[in-house]
């Protein structure tokens, strides 16, 4: 009964880490060693979450898209529901030949997929998966997260430049234009949340939501702006101009194969998960809400056509940014009015 | 072809271009004009309001072993009548003026004739092979074209390789 109360008070993950910490203290009896071990477990857990998410989302994406397209989807590997399809995909990707295009800039080319994975994984360090369960609960969490996620531009440009392919290069250039222009409305849409909770610490934001209304209800405009710019940030349809199979074949990924391509893939799904978590950080319904968000992104992807580059940039600067700024203004006025009352 | 151009109009054409020839006995006679006059004839047929053949529906060439024949099918949409204009070309060095100046839509068809039949066009804006590779030798639609075996096909002996 006591444990149950602690769980309710602190959250499942925090309790689990407390128990682990207590256990390791018994074994090693040294704060430093236990700290290192705990951090190691944290990193492992985050990487585990990302890999599991990639596997689950690949399967989900296939199934969701299949159902939307009046198909059945994977139904051979692992029973009639094709549950092991993602595993089979992974094995296939790992056993594929690593083709290095002629005339590419070898070092930059090889570095790009790995570098892309770093910011996507690093963002998870600041996520409050549950009450008190954030790997690094820094007081400028939101800011750091945005700063790191914008680093994802560079690897795309690197792979575009280094692939020695015009398609890849156009894709790389497009990434820069797209991600930079969608960064701005995204930041401003998050600003409203920061203003409401009065803190940039992720755990405080979560805490604020459990006391007041959910921010999704208090900041609907910001939420919409965020979802749209998040779609652009994760390069998914209707803003998947970076990959864009029908125009520039696959953009920066065109020349990659096997595991290198799988890293791009992994980063894409890590990003998808992180943007889905971002606006709705955890209370009890954490998992469900994340899945709902992921489903929304998949829904977009399989029903919308793709925009054109000029339309997309115009939409960001002429529609989303003013909306986000107006939202900041109204939030500020609202907060002031509430204090005054 | 349903409705063909009236014989009286053909007479007018003959008056304008005395070198044009046609079989006045036939029901749907093709008008043969010399290669030098084809552009003038086609622009006359297009611009003169009695003819008003605004559409060049088809352009091709036929190899008659001793000579080539360019075939132009023109259509007057408002009146719904047709005319066939033909040009006989020398078999050794077939050359004719391009009609892309009169009918720009003939560009690809002339390139096709150049490619497959080997008829040269003077004044064509972009005369290159269109269907075959640039280094292809010969013109397959000519009657004297001999097909060569593909170079990489090896005959497999009986009883294994």
């Amino acid at each position: 009964m006591e444990i149950w109360n602690t769980i309710m008070e602190q959250g499942v993950l925090a309790t689990a880490s407390e128990i682990l910490r207590w256990f390791f203290m018994l074994v090693f009896a040294s704060e430093l060693i236990v700290d290192i071990i705990m951090k190691g477990i944290g990193i492992g857990a985050i990487l585990g979450v990302i890999s599991v998410a990639a596997i689950v989302f690949t399967y989900a994406e296939r199934k969701v898209c299949a159902f939307m397209q009046v198909r059945i989807g994977p139904n051979r590997v692992g029973g009639r529901y094709g549950l092991l399809q993602s595993i089979a995909d992974m094995l296939k990707l790992m056993s594929k030949e690593d083709i290095i295009p002629e005339g590419c800039d070898r070092v930059v080319w090889a570095l790009a997929p790995m570098l892309l994975f770093v910011p996507s994984a690093l963002i998870y360090a600041f996520f409050p998966f549950d009450k008190g369960a954030a790997f690094a609960d820094v007081n400028v969490g939101v800011f750091l997260m945005l700063a790191i996620s914008s680093q994802a531009v560079l690897p795309f440009l690197m792979s575009g430049y280094a692939s020695n392919s015009k398609y890849a290069f156009i894709g790389g250039i497009r990434t820069v234009a797209q991600m930079l222009s969608y960064e701005a409305p995204m930041v401003f849409s998050l600003l409203g949340v920061v203003m409401l909770s009065g803190s940039m610490r992720m755990c405080d934001i979560v805490e604020a939501q459990s006391q007041q209304l959910w921010f999704i209800l208090m900041q609907p405009i910001a939420f919409v702006v965020f979802v749209i710019s998040a779609t652009a940030e994760t390069n998914r349809t209707p803003f998947d101009l970076v990959e864009d199979e029908s125009e520039i074949v696959a953009g920066p990924f065109a020349e990659y194969s096997g595991m290198r391509w799988a890293l791009f893939f992994l980063a894409e799904y890590a990003n998808l998960l992180s943007v889905s978590i971002l606006f709705l950080p955890g209370v009890v319904w954490f998992g469900l809400k994340v899945l709902a968000m992921v489903f929304v992104f998949m829904w977009f992807r399989w029903t919308f056509p793709r925009t054109r580059i000029d339309q997309m940039l115009a939409f960001s600067w002429k529609v989303l940014l003013p909306l986000a700024l107006a939202n900041v203004l109204f939030t500020g006025v609202g907060i002031y009015a509430r204090q005054w009352m | 072809m349903k409705a063909y151009i009236d014989a009286s109009l053909l007479a007018i054409l003959k008056e304008k271009f005395p070198s044009a020839e046609y079989d006045s006995e036939a029901t749907q006679p093709a008008v043969y004009v010399p290669a030098a006059e084809i552009v003038a004839v086609l622009s006359f047929l297009r611009d003169d309001e009695r003819f008003a053949f605004a559409r060049l529906e088809n352009l091709t060439a036929v190899d008659y072993k001793t000579y080539f024949e360019m075939v132009y099918h023109l259509f007057n949409w408002t009146a719904g009548v047709w005319i066939t204009v033909k040009v006989k070309l020398d078999h050794e060095q077939p050359m004719v003026a391009s009609v892309t100046g009169v009918f720009p839509g003939a560009e690809f068809e002339e390139r096709e004739v150049y490619d497959l039949m080997g008829v040269g066009f003077t004044g064509h804006p972009d005369l290159r092979r269109i269907l075959l590779a640039d280094d292809f030798e010969g013109h397959p639609l000519r009657k004297d074209y001999v097909q060569i075996m593909p170079p990489h096909v090896r005959r497999i002996e009986k009883g294994g390789r």
Partner: protein, 365 residues
């Protein structure tokens, strides 16, 4: 001093949205297209030459391979040319059956157009829907002639077999569901804002441009010229059937989409009328097995799904044609590609390829 430089991007022949093996070289300034040059011939099989070495009747299956999405219309074009050359009178029942299958094939072909336009614009779900419904037409053809792709159903002198007894009911059923699935496209594609933004006002063409490039079919009707050979020539039993020719206004990609979309309804109307008015009688004319048309030549054209499909056949009185020339509509329509792409962005070029709707089997012949 920073300078921009133009560069060439080769789209195709291995490119997901060039509809087979079309290669287009784009001269680009950044993302803006300065010039688009199509290169074709990757699928050239020399059908014109092959037809010279086969008898007239043996030539029909080769035409299946021209525009393999609408084989019925190619069969029809070739057979009409041979019939005109050999002066074969086709029984009326065969003419009606020809209208039914040709118009059904037009529906199938336009569904492929809608699907490929959707996927070229990134809406892959739209494609699957269109292909699902095309399947229904193919099932009907399967019933009629046993084939789903290269039918060889329309023969010289008529059709290869009479319609099976259950065809009328099945076709009726298809015509009933047609408005339903068309409404689905309306919902998923036509009504979509992004889809409209991508198509409206792009690749605009004037009437003069379209006429000067000698474009035919839906491409010329999209600029507002009602040039439909079914109306202009009135071949077969088309004059007896009532149908409209939908035309566009602006000549942009949106109109090219709408014209084909509305043509599906018109084709359905034609099928319905032909099915109701189907007379009894023979389905095949009587003519000698070894067909030797008299010496002469013919240029005969029909409205293929992509425009004016013309066959020019020269006969020397022998059992084989002396020369066959095929006027392929997509081949000639491709001349307009440069005008459609100039000044547009890379994304529009893909929409432009799709909107011309070239089929490489036909272009390369």
């Amino acid at each position: 001093m920073p300078q921009t430089e133009t560069y060439t991007l080769s789209m195709g022949p291995q490119h997901p949205s060039t509809h087979g093996v079309l290669q287009v070289r784009l001269d680009l300034d950044g993302e803006t297209i300065l010039k688009a040059t199509p290169y074709m011939g990757y699928l050239h099989r020399g059908i014109e030459k092959l037809l010279e070495s086969r008898t007239y009747v043996q030539g029909v299956p080769y035409t299946d391979r021209l525009d393999y999405v609408s084989s019925m219309n190619n069969n029809l074009g070739y057979c009409r040319a041979v019939e005109e050359l050999a002066q074969i009178e086709v029984p009326e029942r065969a003419e009606y059956i020809r209208v039914i299958v040709a118009e059904l094939n037009r529906i199938a072909s336009h569904l492929v157009f809608i699907g490929s336009l959707a996927i070229d614009l990134g809406a892959s779900t739209g494609m699957l829907y269109a292909f699902r419904d095309r399947e229904k037409v193919l099932d009907l053809f399967d019933l009629v002639c046993g084939a789903r792709m290269t039918f060889h159903y329309i023969r010289v002198g008529g059709v290869s077999a009479d319609l099976p007894p259950e065809f009328a009911a099945k076709c009726d059923e298809f015509l009933k569901v047609l408005p339903e699935f068309m409404q689905e496209y309306e919902d998923i594609l036509t009504g979509n804002e992004i889809f409209q933004y991508r198509l409206k006002g792009t690749s605009r063409m004037t009437k003069e441009q379209a006429l000067s490039h000698n474009m035919t079919g839906p491409n010329i009707r999209a600029v507002g010229i009602p040039f439909d050979i079914r109306k202009v020539d009135g071949y077969g039993v088309y004059p007896k059937l009532a149908f409209d020719v939908p035309v566009g206004e602006n000549g942009d990609n949106w109109d090219r989409y709408r014209v084909r979309y509305l043509e599906i309804y018109e084709s359905a109307k034609l099928v319905r009328q032909a099915l109701d008015g189907l007379p009894e009688g023979d389905f095949m004319a009587k003519f000698p097995k070894a067909l030797r048309p008299p010496k002469g030549e013919v240029y005969s054209r029909t409205e293929g799904t992509r425009g004016e499909l013309g066959f020019y056949i020269v006969s020397d009185g022998g059992p084989k044609p002396y020369r066959v020339h095929i006027r392929r509509p997509s081949f000639i329509n491709l001349q307009g590609l440069d005008d459609m792409c100039r000044g547009m962005l890379i994304g529009d070029s893909v929409a432009a390829f799709s909107a011309i709707d070239p089929l490489m089997g036909e272009v390369d012949c």
